[in-house]
């Protein structure tokens, strides 16, 4: 695809470096990209691939001192963006090209009313009166399905939810009818149901207004749902480009192929994923040749020469690989290792929760009485069976992390009972509780902050042993080496510090630490959410292997339905501090009965489905300070009927162990999702 004159955005052979202490980081090396009128273009890559840098560069948003362009050209609507001055850039930004970002919570000025922030942008670029600008701002908010736009205009950002704020930002971005809208992971920080609403909104509005979109994301399924064309980046280079359907069905570049294979969506549940070995190169030295060759299964001597970005077959689908078109993606089907099959779940309960409730006081009056309560858990009955993986799925605020803390005995329930191996945790004194606690360990979401930066790895890994009274450095080191090998790290690196490891390696260190005391139960609190998909596959594989070889029980908490579907035996879906549906992973996630589960799963972007996802209505989650009466989901439910105003109980529907907290479970139509 040549950089046609009809392109709105045309990036040609662009290179850029970030000067750092370690030397110049070559963030972009010869990036080429075009956005044509009216099309939605995806830009995909893992962290550090340079996708956001590319997006920011298009409107020259990187601070001049931070980045240096070293070659290539960049034009937007015919302007030479590398030569243009700051004043001219101000006229282009927000008018010809506007941009929205990842964090809607912090992207609006907290001290200025919403209306004024939009009006300010409109009046910056167009000579119209305050009143007219206000009228247009209100109309824009209405167009973005913001309920009660007139009131929202007078609101401050803190009065709106994340989803609403992102709508405001989209309204602002569209306010001067830009030719291109650049979106940098605009839905990554949002819950999946809100993400579906925002994606649908961007798609519809861009189509209706004829605005081109450059959409940056790490999520191939989002690309599938939204984009006409897609670019794939790796290590600051463009590795593949093509029409979305072509590229995902017949990827040419080994990296794209490997990336797709590492997705749990496309793999058989409970089977090892085809992870990409190794990590992304650090870009501190100039890489000659293909940057993927160290991780590529097909690399040969020739790969040390830079491959051309060419199209082997049909026009418009090209890849930067010497063997583009010659390498067929191998079929993912692999024989299941015997060890994985050996992990057998029993029906014996290891941990049992009965009617567990947790409330947090919200503010205190000056007499020390809480003014209100946040109801984090509202009567949870659940058992975790020895040897199984119990998945917990839910959106933010559903209580899944509180559940983890309760199970870990880090948080005392305000009502209800928790038993471990038949022993009531509340009946134990501090010393006995400490002994029992050794049986459960935790792995947190962010390996960066869950490892003390000032300790060498061997001290980190053996901290539970140290706490338990082992003081001999020799013994601790020996155990650390053993654990490092167990999680697939090199035993000779136990003297290093956390910052010397990559994100995936740090998470393995955290897992090794959790295993130090031979626990029975490991609570995994979003263990792969901070990781890239290729690394996520590595970590999921390690977890499955360890479970099989050590007979571990997992409580696996995640907002990612595909990951839970892959690793869990049974699944509980949570909503407002309650379990609304419980059963095997296949029952709950492939054939959901509860209307909320259906909304949730329906909102997850699918790689395979050709149908565009239906956007649920724009409503905010009810508050867990003032709990709704009756069924908590009632106000958002499409199947609301008489009887819903009564509290619902978790009850088996039909004969199976599949339980649903809905009195209409049996009446609902069958689930038909491609």
């Amino acid at each position: 695809m040549q950089a046609g004159t009809d392109s709105i955005v045309s990036v040609d052979d662009l290179s850029l470096v970030f000067p750092t202490y370690h030397g110049d980081v070559r963030a972009l090396s010869g990036v080429t990209l075009d956005v044509r009128p009216g099309e939605i273009v995806g830009l995909v890559g893992e962290s550090g691939s340079g996708k956001s840098v590319t997006a920011m560069s298009v409107i020259r948003l990187l601070p001049p001192g931070m980045a240096r362009f070293t070659g290539g050209s960049l034009s937007l609507l015919g302007h030479d963006m590398l030569a243009i001055g700051e004043r001219a850039l101000e006229d282009i930004r927000g008018k010809d090209a506007s941009m929205i970002f990842q964090e809607p919570m912090s992207a609006l000025n907290p001290t200025i009313r919403i209306g004024k922030q939009i009006v300010q942008v409109i009046r910056q670029h167009e000579a119209i009166s305050e009143a007219e600008a206000k009228k247009r701002a209100a109309a824009l908010l209405g167009e973005m399905q913001v309920p009660d736009a007139a009131r929202v205009m007078r609101n401050y950002p803190f009065e709106l939810s994340g989803g609403m704020r992102q709508r405001v930002l989209i309204a602002m971005a569209f306010s001067c009818n830009p030719s291109v809208l650049i979106c940098d992971e605009p839905t990554t920080a949002l819950d999946v149901t809100v993400q579906a609403q925002v994606l649908a909104l961007i798609r519809e509005r861009a189509r209706a207004r004829g605005t081109a979109v450059l959409f940056i994301t790490h999520d191939l399924a989002v690309v599938r749902q939204l984009c006409d064309r897609v670019y794939v980046m790796y290590a600051g280079r463009m590795v593949e480009e093509g029409r979305t359907a072509d590229l995902l069905a017949h990827p040419l570049h080994p990296y794209t192929q490997a990336l797709l294979r590492s997705l749990p969506e496309l793999a058989e549940p409970k089977q090892p994923l085809a992870a990409i070995p190794g990590t992304v190169p650090a870009l501190l030295t100039e890489i000659k040749g293909c940057a993927f060759r160290w991780r590529c299964a097909h690399a040969v001597a020739r790969c040390t020469e830079t491959p051309p970005f060419v199209s082997p077959g049909e026009a418009g689908h090209r890849a930067a690989c010497w063997f583009a078109g010659e390498i067929a993606p191998p079929t993912p089907a692999r024989s299941m290792p015997a060890s994985v099959a050996a992990g057998e779940a029993t029906s014996e309960a290891l941990v049992r929760l009965e009617g567990v409730e947790v409330g947090f006081p919200l503010g205190r009056s000056w007499l020390g009485r809480p003014k209100a309560m946040v109801h984090a858990l509202n009567g949870v009955d659940l058992e975790i069976r020895a040897g199984e993986t119990l998945g917990i799925v839910g959106e933010s605020g559903c209580g899944k992390s509180t559940l983890a803390e309760v199970v870990m005995a880090l948080q005392k329930p305000s009502a209800g009972r928790i038993t471990f191996d038949g022993v009531d945790l509340a009946s134990l004194d501090t010393a006995a509780l400490r002994t029992v606690r050794r049986n459960f360990q935790v792995v947190f979401q962010d390996p960066q902050s869950s490892l003390d930066p000032r300790m060498p790895v061997w001290r980190l890994i053996t901290e539970p042993l140290y706490v338990a009274g082992e003081r001999s450095s020799r013994k601790l080191k020996a155990r650390a080496e053993e654990l490092m090998r167990q999680v697939g790290l090199r035993a000779d690196q136990i003297g290093r510090y956390p910052h010397e490891f990559s994100g995936g390696q740090r998470q393995r260190i955290a897992i090794a630490r959790a295993l130090a005391l031979h626990p029975k139960l490991v609570v995994l609190d979003e263990p792969t959410s901070a990781l890239d998909v290729s690394v996520q596959a590595q970590v999921l594989n390690i977890l499955m292997e360890l479970q099989a070889s050590l007979g571990l029980t997992y409580l696996f908490i995640s907002h990612n339905v595909a990951v839970v579907r892959h690793i869990a035996d049974r699944v509980a879906v949570m909503y407002l501090g309650q379990v609304v549906e419980l059963g095997t992973a296949a029952e709950v996630l492939d054939n959901p009965r509860h209307p909320y589960t259906r909304t949730l799963i329906g909102a997850v972007p699918k790689l395979s489905a050709d149908t565009e996802i239906a956007a649920p209505a724009a409503v905010d989650l009810p508050s867990n300070v003032n709990l709704p009466e009756g069924c908590f989901f009632r106000e958002r439910c499409a199947f609301k009927a008489a009887g819903c105003e009564k509290p619902q109980a978790l009850a088996p529907w039909q004969e199976s162990g599949h339980q649903v907290r809905c009195h209409r479970a049996a009446e609902l139509p069958g689930w038909a999702q491609a």
């Binding site: 370690h22 935790v442 901290e463 697939g488």
Partner: protein, 296 residues
């Protein structure tokens, strides 16, 4: 597959983001911090070497050369009893800087321990300690130090103690704030989940990680302490004649201001330059420890 495949060449950073090399890199990027460091090195050198580098005995009277203007014989001139002001300024570094360091050591030492204890114990004891500190922080601290110094008897040691005592609550707050914010870090939560006792968490995780901001604050405070101590001496509540102390020298020099400007000027300049040194270094350290600056 579980073993990391051979690490590609050039994939790991050549240098780590901690250690001496990194510190030196950060220092070089900030010329003002280098200036601060340079000043402190010089001042510390003068402190140690004063007896050898001072051209005169600081207490030697020379009534024939009273109130002499600066010259090659007396760089900063002489005072009302003919003592060499240059030598007295050099010797004054010993007094003034030692007092500054001592004040900070005392207030930081006590403050950090009390603050950490308060944060560790929590509950009612914590509330009580902190409310008490709030009250003390609302006292007019300089006046309190003045009153204390006056009541204890005007001398340098009492002035030093008075300033240090008044400064303690500040560190109590800082240390406790650090302890509390670290307590919510996932790695501390992880340690709690292993059942680690609180004292151990304090020692292994909180103390080492809390020290950086406290040390930065202490560095900035040394400048303030030197200023405050010299101010007490200036109003006659600190060092007394004939001690060579910068604030006291400015105080006596004040009477000769209009005719012998150099007399109060040079000791005051010494205070200014020393305080600038500690403030510049403190500012630089703060930027360096700022997590957002890491790796840049």
């Amino acid at each position: 597959m579980s073993l990391e495949s051979a690490e590609a060449e050039g994939t790991t950073p050549a240098r780590s983001s901690s250690g001496v090399g990194y510190l030196w890199y950060q220092l070089r990027r900030s010329p003002l911090t280098m200036v601060g460091l340079g000043i402190i090195v010089v001042v510390l050198f003068i402190m140690v070497a004063a007896p050898w580098i001072a051209p005169y005995n600081p207490d030697k009277l020379d009534l024939l050369h009273r109130l002499a203007a600066p010259s090659l014989a007396h760089f900063f001139g002489t005072d009302e009893v003919g003592r060499d002001i240059f030598s007295r300024v050099l010797w004054g570094a010993r007094t003034s800087v030692t007092v500054g360091l001592a004040i900070v050591a005392i207030s930081m030492g006590f403050g950090t321990v009390i603050g950490a204890f308060s944060g560790l114990v929590g509950g009612r004891v914590d509330t009580l300690i902190m409310r008490f500190m709030d009250v003390v922080l609302s006292f007019p601290s300089f006046v309190m130090a003045m009153a204390l110094a006056a009541a204890l008897g005007p001398n340098l040691i009492n002035a030093m103690l008075a300033i240090a005592v008044v400064r303690i609550p500040f560190y109590v707050r800082l240390a406790r704030g650090q302890a509390l914010s670290l307590r919510s870090k996932p790695y501390v939560k992880a340690a709690m989940s292993f059942g680690a006792p609180r004292v151990q968490i304090m020692r292994r995780h909180i103390m080492p990680n809390a020290m950086a901001p406290i040390i930065v604050q202490a560095t900035l405070d040394i400048g303030l302490a030197i200023l405050t101590a010299s101010a007490l001496s200036f109003i006659g509540l600190g060092a007394q004649q004939p001690t060579a102390e910068w604030g006291a020298m400015v105080a006596t020099g004040r009477d000769y201001l209009l005719d012998q400007w150099w007399y109060p000027t040079f000791p005051g300049l010494a205070i200014l330059i020393t305080a600038v040194g500690f403030n510049l270094l403190g500012d630089g350290l703060r930027d360096m420890f700022d997590p957002r600056m890491r790796g840049r």
